[in-house]
């Protein structure tokens, strides 16, 4: 589960933000809505520990992540947080399969190829394992990115505009899969978006 309290952030020589407290139980979903410039992405990066807040705290699985060192935060994020971005990016020189075991390796877990194959086949892309990610369609790439975010069984899945680059059909599929997999692994799913197609679907929401 994820909980934030009194989060504030000030960009050096830039705008400052204060954020409402948010909480999301395991296997629950939460939509973060807001106009552009309202600090949605900033909040997501704060929750992921990619930015350090000026004030306040973020608790993930009982750990106050703002208290971790930069190195410990990297490892903690790798093990407990899965992140999905607006457009999927990969280590282009590696195959889909190797990109999927990358989170296992980088977060210091033992590499489990069977697990990676299992996750990707749940997303109906088992036949693309040997491909380079660049050869996949945008929709397929976003599904691989979801698989990659799931492969370490994270406590929290953070998704930043995961559907904005997709057409209706692919967006539909990606949303369904995100929902399904998050409840399957009992992860808290937090989605930052202004996509109407998502608003129709998730009722828990916080507007910034």
């Amino acid at each position: 589960m994820l909980k934030s309290t009194n989060l504030t952030f000030q960009y050096p020589h830039g705008p400052s933000f204060g954020f409402p407290d948010i909480a999301c139980e395991a296997a629950k979903h939460l939509l973060l809505l807001g106009e552009s410039g309202s600090g949605k992405t900033t909040l997501l990066h704060l929750l992921a520990g990619m930015l350090r807040p000026t004030g306040g705290a973020v608790h993930i699985a009982g750990q106050d992540t703002t208290a971790l060192s930069s190195k410990a935060m990297d490892k903690f994020r790798g093990q407990h947080v899965g992140i999905i971005f607006q457009t999927a990016h990969f280590v282009q020189s590696l195959t889909v399969e190797d990109n999927l075991i990358l989170p296992q390796f980088l977060s210091g877990r033992s590499v489990d190829r069977a697990k990676a194959r299992d996750v990707i086949s749940r997303l109906n892309l088992g036949h693309k394992l040997r491909e380079k990610p660049g050869n996949l369609s945008i929709g397929e790439q976003q599904r691989v990115a979801i698989a990659r975010a799931l492969v370490n069984d994270p406590d929290v899945i953070l998704a930043d505009e995961p559907t904005s680059a997709l057409d209706d059909k692919n967006a539909e599929e990606v949303i369904r899969m995100l929902e399904e997999q998050a409840s399957l692994t009992r992860a808290s799913l937090i989605i930052v978006t202004h996509d109407q197609r998502l608003k129709d679907r998730f009722l828990n929401r916080v507007t910034l």
Partner: protein
Amino acid sequence: MNLLKIARRNIASKPLNTFLSLVLLAFGVGIISLLLLLEVSLQEKFDRNIKDIDMVLGAKGSPLQLILANVYHVDAPTGNISRAEAEKVARHPYIEDAIPLAYGDNFRGYRIVGTEHKYHEHYGVELNQGRLFEGTFEATVGAKVAEETGLKIGDTFYSAHGLTDETDVHKNHAFTVVGIYAESGSVIDQLLLTPMSSIWGVHANVEEETGEKPDDEITAMLLKKKNPLAVMMIPKLLEDSNMQIALPSIEINRLTQNFGIGMDTVEAIAILIMALSFISVFISLYNSMRERKYELALMRTMGATRGSLFTLIILEGLVMTISGMLIGLLLSRVGMTVLANVMESEFRYDLGDLGVLASEWQLLGITIFVGVLASLLPALSAVRLDISKTLADG
């Protein structure tokens, strides 16, 4: 999965950049290592053949030529000297030992040298087959000569006048092969040895034509001194004669010094190529780092620390430099083999074998060090990467 694998994949995914860096590295390392090999090989060869020859007595002319002709058998001799006069020098109390050499003929480009058993004994050359030359027109041939010409014990051959071409064959006297020397790496490998009397016998007709008695003359004498003063005293004795002495160590030093200027130029070019190759490694790493900023930030979100990214980029630099270096070392071996073949057929002279030299280990050390240096800046930029900003700009 490990960082090395990711590094290798990243390099392989940029074949053109990688190719350019590898070619430059391989040529830089290859040329330098070829120079090192050549230097050591020549030095070894020079030293092995000088072995305890303190002075060479021969006709006046270029002292370097005298050494090259009589110690290494790669140049024409300076002329003939009187045997009686030479023996007078050999009997000087400051001289311990003397080996006479008389030659002027060849068999298929290999020199036929009239001498005494002392000559091969001096180099510690053993017999491989047959026996040593004793009588006139008996010859014991060097290992290389036997291998190249196919001469066997019992074969007969005619000598040709001069040291290289075979147009003017002395058909009056046939030599008989009585033995073959074992390979020694010394100059004996490339020679056919025979008693002095054979050389005079072949040229007996010269006496009829010119009135000179050939058995009065030899080509040179290799001298070993008993007293260091010999180097000072003997030249004084020769002032009024047509003879001189030359010191192999001094002449070869002079030769390698002259030779060294050319080597230095090639070395400078090689170092330039190396420098270019490191700039190329640097640029290709730096560019690919910038292109992959998002990838690197992404790896951080998956648990990679700043340290892992640093290591990854350094590894990419190292994989590139080490591969380039290995190709370079391979190239230098191929180059050396080609060169040895050319040298052997052109000069009847072979170069030693091709192990990894101590100085090459040094070269490897330096290459790796500079490889790390070239990847340091890209690696540090990876460490300083602002992942939030990079991913937000994505």
